[in-house]
């Protein structure tokens, strides 16, 4: 079935957008969402209850979760300044990491993360979720199929009138 021949043990750190990760792991036949982590105890409880995560599988500390759960996969969905340290911590604990966008605070941090993943032979994927929309997938197929020829100009934008994320 995969490199470990069993369902992958998955954990999620950071329970804002991380809740999407939880439900997606829960709906994936090859994944077991085994543990979650957030430093905010109220959120940890609310999200744990919502997704029916056993209380002993809810962690305040990522270090503790990584030590106890022997995860194959760890999602990092915390504020941007923590992407690098937590990703590296999870990689070093033997996990493949799915890190939220933006990858890091700057390219130097991103380079460190790439270097660490390479050194440890682990995967590091960034959650560019718009790549997996039906339209994006279809469009990318058309591009790969040569339907557009060579792309020489692209313009991409996301403008909001008012809508800075809270949190």
């Amino acid at each position: 079935m995969n490199e470990v021949n069993r369902k992958l043990r998955c954990g999620v750190v950071g329970l804002g957008i991380g809740q999407m990760h939880i439900s997606n792991y829960q709906s994936c036949p090859y994944a077991d969402l085994v543990a979650i982590c957030d430093i905010n105890p109220v959120r940890l409880k609310d999200v744990g209850d919502k997704f029916k995560i056993p209380e002993e599988k809810r962690y305040i500390s990522i270090t503790e979760m990584l030590a106890k759960e022997h995860l194959d996969v760890c999602s990092i969905a915390v504020p941007n300044h923590l992407h690098k340290p937590l990703t590296i911590e999870a990689l070093e604990a033997g996990c493949h990491v799915l890190c939220e966008k933006p990858m890091a605070m700057n390219s130097a941090e991103a380079q460190e993360m790439v270097d660490t993943a390479k050194k440890l032979g682990k995967r590091l994927m960034i959650d560019f979720s718009y790549r997996t929309s039906e339209q994006s997938v279809a469009l990318k197929k058309a591009v790969d199929d040569g339907m557009l020829g060579e792309i020489y100009y692209a313009r991409t934008q996301w403008l909001r009138r008012r809508g800075a994320p809270s949190g």
Binding site: L148, G149, Y153, R155, R161, R162
Partner: protein
Amino acid sequence: MNTPIKKLRCGIVGLGVGRKKHIPGYLSHPMAELAAIADSNTEKLNAVGDEFHIEHRYSSLTEMLANEKLDIVSIATPNIFHKDMTIEALEAGCHVMCEKPIAMNAAEAQEMIDAAKRTGKRIMINYVKRYIPESIAVKRVIDAGMLGDIYFARSVWLRRRRLPGFGGWFGKKAMSGGGPLIDIGVHRLDLALWYMGFPKPVWVMASTYNPIAKAIAAKEKKDFDVEDLAVALIRFENGATLELEASWCANIKEREHLSARLLGTKGGSLQHNIGDVYDSYAEIYLERCGCQYDMRLHEPVPQTYNCIYEFVDDIVHGNPSACSAEEALIAMKILDAIYESAAKNEPVQIQY
């Protein structure tokens, strides 16, 4: 008001857009007399002369100036002739209504400005896009301070497939100075600069491409050595940024897509064409009392006249005229820098 009794005697050289825009322009002003026309193409000269009952016809500007005492001359010939003809007309004592782009490059534009100063005559550029009701309306809102400081603008004119006079002078860099950028992009550039209050441009990062027109030209065995798409990012001394795009050929949905977006500290605006034609639509975006409002232009829209009418009117009344050569020079510096940046594959700093 020092309204002269005598009408202003006007002449036109170049009867493409000269016939389409300049003749009706002069005919629209009661103080203008369309005295003479010139074109090197005799057939065209006679056809236009017959159509509008203009008897005084010349095969060159020089001949026209030698035989007619003109107050205003329109220069509506291919871009390569704008500079020399403008200077020639200025030196013959005429005010000049020159077509866009003002010239092939900024150095030429500067020469024209110098000549106008020397002769004490005016130059106005036929920036038709400023004189549509929506543009006038948006400009009034900006001048009233409703948008605050404009710090970002995006102005585009994209055509899916439409090469002007394909095989003719428009596609030959030596005669046109460039492709869609200098031809239709210049209108969008002028409009944005006008809205933004002509801030001083400092940096330009740009690319030009020519994949589609080049292929068509090769197939049809036509001369074509200019871009079919140009894109640029322009940065101003006041910190503002302008995005500019222009194409004659691009694989887009619209046959014609014109738009100008302005983001200001107090409000924004979007003006665009509708229905693949040149009808224009304008909206203003505002926040009031913590709520978001859209303001839409309704009939009756401001009454507008064409550039040529305005030029005649300003001369008659002794008012300064708009669309000056000095403003056109700023746009020309940007266009030069865009072509330079594209050729060098690097950002270009505009030198002063």
